[in-house]
């Protein structure tokens, strides 16, 4: 394993910066590239353009064309060569332009990336990160708003995480790069440049571990668990609920595989109620898994079944309808009401 991520305190400058998620990722990537010259970035348009979301902005200029590669247009190629680069000792960070375009690379992910460590009895490490902007709410055309993360959480050998705020963006991307396992890194694209989640990030702080969930708001009446873009929705819902006297506990899952459900179990044992929120379709999904495990671990604590607020089991609709499709504050609160009145 590469050295664990640590902060480098530079006493001459303040270590606190106000960052968006996008800037947090950019700075995190830069820091990781400075720390280890085996870290390279691969993807479509990640070079001069800095990626269509500008997450890799400025990196090719500063690190050169052999560390930030504008690749040919093919996702299996991006991931398949990243696997080979990892065999050679590199730590590739792939950018998939939009989550809807990860599928041509699915085979390399499931057949090679996920399995080479196992197949080689641990001789081959796969420290590859695949960054995936995901989720809806940006008014886009087809294939630009989906949430396929559950698929990857079903594949053994992969690790899957998602960040929901600038500090996590900054730290988690570095931790993912430092991790010797392949990490699918899901980024909440609609929040990339959102002022609403902009926050001060102390680059000298000690980050939480990568594969750990976090209680982001404490409460007593019911537990709400979410990840990525839905965390903000749930926090807003909790604020609204509080105004009406209902105290919600909100947990940011952060790690989608392996799941760290300890904090969820602990919370549900107190509240007796759980609402799992995700933009993905519900069938055979992460929220199914959460429900399945919570009903088993907290069987005697549950006062209502685990309820789910998710995207519907349809293709992502024309985005004029996405406000209807995506879990929003109202739907979360509606589920809370149902849970409370079960």
């Amino acid at each position: 394993m590469a050295a664990p991520v640590k902060s480098t305190v530079d006493s001459a400058h303040s270590t606190v910066q106000k960052l968006t998620i996008g800037k947090g990722l950019n700075l995190g990537l830069r820091t990781a590239m400075e720390a280890d010259d085996k870290v390279i970035i691969l993807g479509e348009d990640v070079g001069k353009l800095g990626g269509v979301f500008r997450i890799t902005d400025g990196l090719q200029k500063d690190f050169g064309e052999q560390r930030v590669l504008d690749t040919p247009l093919a996702e299996s190629g991006i991931i398949g060569t990243a696997v080979g680069l990892a065999v050679r000792g590199f730590r590739p960070v792939c950018e998939i332009q939009f989550e809807g375009f990860i599928f041509p690379g699915f085979d390399q992910i499931s057949s090679q990336l996920a399995k080479l460590h196992y197949r080689s009895q641990g001789r081959i490490k796969m420290p590859v990160v695949i960054r995936v902007p995901f989720g809806g709410g940006i008014g886009a055309v087809e294939h630009h708003s989906e949430s396929p993360e559950s698929l990857f959480s079903h594949i053994p050998g992969l690790k899957v995480v998602s960040c929901s705020n600038p500090a996590d963006a900054y730290w988690m991307i570095q931790q993912a790069i430092a991790c010797d396992d392949p990490v699918l890194f899901f980024e909440p694209k609609r929040l990339y440049h959102s002022g609403a989640v902009r926050a001060e990030v102390d680059t000298a702080a000690t980050p939480d571990p990568l594969f750990a969930s976090r209680v982001v708001r404490q409460g007593t009446a019911a537990t709400v668990v979410a990840y990525g873009p839905s965390v903000k929705v749930c926090l807003d819902a909790a604020t609204a609920a509080a105004e009406e006297g209902t105290s919600l506990e909100v947990i940011d899952l952060r790690t989608l595989s392996p799941l760290d459900l300890g904090p969820v179990f602990e919370s549900v044992r107190r509240t007796g109620r759980l609402i799992a929120v995700s933009e993905a379709p519900s069938e055979s999904s992460l929220t199914s898994e959460i429900a399945a495990r919570v009903q088993q671990e907290c069987f005697y604590s549950l006062e209502a079944p685990v309820l789910r607020v998710t995207g519907f089991d349809t293709p992502y609709p024309p985005s004029k309808l996405e406000e209807e499709y995506l879990p929003d504050l109202d739907r979360v609160l509606h589920a809370v009401d149902r849970s409370l009145s079960w």
Partner: protein, 402 residues
């Protein structure tokens, strides 16, 4: 099937190659990417200056193109450009979520689109508004996609025009399958044969699906024209990021003809595509056409090309404008007078105004659309989801608004 050997050492665009290069203007921009690389291998019938050059190989394919047809092609191009610009503007005004401009690619699209016959089938990518136009698809029907109220509006069968495909390369395999179907149904083999055309970009050539489309079409002798619009850019990446060789030469490895045509020359695009379709109709497909053209605007309205390309490049390509050369040709040769040009302009303005009107008044789809047409046959699970959600919405309505 044409003999494989024939294409082992293809000599594409043999006829007009000599005249094709127009070095004078290009050489102005030393240090820029070689925008004239299309030169020596380029099939061209109409120079950027509007001069008709002879092509022993392809003249016969446009023997019927008289002044009227040429004026028609001019009109087509002016109309789609006008509609394209209007749509671009409407995106700026918030009426469309995004627009994918075709600016600069009018000749490639109108020329190839007009080469198709009614029963032929076209599989577009996402930028083929000009081809859509030639297939009789109302430009308005395209807007829903970019307004994000819809994912594909037209009747694909009536128009012989498949829905837009956004995932790069997918449609190439779908088109290969369709063309195989034409062949299996016995619709190939003589002058009346059917054919399929599939559109994709220079960037797309790297995708596995495009390769597999080449393999399938070659192995099954599918009546399929691969029409690659090489507009020099895949978003920010120049063609050099995808290939060492000119793209039309990719066909050499598969044993079918590949040819590079001046994609800004509507006449050459028409001729070469007719030839290619003809090969397919007779069972000599597939054929790869590389239309050498230029994306004169941004990749989409969300793109900022100043980050990755020099404006000089655009200036050079302006000299090769696909519409201008036809206009000059028509005017110089007395095939159209000012009145004609004015009328076309007026028609284009009306066309755009109509489009604008339509777009501004386009209704949003109802929430039920989320659940409709997921399946051809019912899914009880989904029906239950729909009912539950509509009941939930109704609850809000009762409570006095969402």
């Amino acid at each position: 099937m044409s003999s494989a050997e024939q294409w082992t050492h293809p000599e594409p665009g043999a006829g007009p190659a000599a005249q094709a290069a127009q070095p004078s203007r290009e050489q102005v921009i030393a240090g820029l990417r070689a925008t004239n690389e299309g030169g020596a291998e380029l099939t061209q019938l109409l120079t950027p200056e509007g001069e008709r050059v002879d092509s022993p190989q392809f003249d016969s394919y446009v023997a019927d193109v008289d002044a009227e047809v040429l004026r028609g092609l001019y009109r087509d191009m002016v109309l789609v450009r006008r509609a394209d610009r209007e749509s671009n503007a409407m995106q700026r005004q918030g009426q469309l979520g995004i627009w994918v401009p075709l600016l600069g690619q009018e000749a490639a699209q109108i020329g190839s689109g007009r080469a198709l016959r009614k029963r032929d089938m076209a599989f577009p990518s996402y930028r083929e508004h000009g081809v859509a136009f030639t297939r009789g698809v109302d430009f308005k029907e395209l807007l829903g996609i970019f307004r994000c109220s819809d994912q594909s509006g037209w009747d694909f069968q009536a128009h012989g025009f498949h829905p837009y495909t956004i995932v790069i390369g997918n449609q190439v395999l779908n088109a290969a399958g369709y063309a195989m179907g034409q062949k299996f149904e016995g619709k190939v083999g003589d002058d009346d044969g059917e054919a399929t055309i599939v559109y994709f970009g220079d960037g797309a050539t790297s995708q596995g699906d495009v390769h597999e489309g080449f393999v399938w079409a070659a192995v099954y002798d599918a009546p399929l024209v691969f029409f690659c619009q090489n507009n020099q850019w895949a978003i920010s990446e120049p063609t050099e990021r995808q290939s060492r060789l000119p793209l039309y030469q990719r066909a050499r490895g598969y044993g079918f003809p590949g040819i590079r045509v001046d994609g800004n020359d509507v006449l050459a695009c028409l001729a070469v595509t007719r030839w290619a379709l003809d090969e397919c109709r007779h069972g000599n497909g597939p054929v790869l056409i590389e239309a050498f053209t230029y994306r004169m605007d941004a990749h989409t309205t969300t793109d900022d090309p100043t980050r990755y390309r020099l404006s000089e490049e655009l200036e050079v390509w302006k000299h090769k404008d696909p519409i201008e050369r036809v206009r000059v040709h028509l005017a110089r040769n007395g095939l159209a007078d000012q009145d004609f040009f004015d009328k076309v302009q007026a028609e284009a303005d009306d066309f755009a105004a109509d489009l604008r009107d339509f777009c501004f008044n386009m209704p949003d789809p109802p929430p039920e659309r989320i659940f409709s047409e997921v399946y051809a046959e019912p899914s009880p699970v989904l029906d239950a989801q729909r009912e539950e959600y509509l009941a939930y919405l109704a609850g809000f309505a009762e409570a006095g608004g969402h």
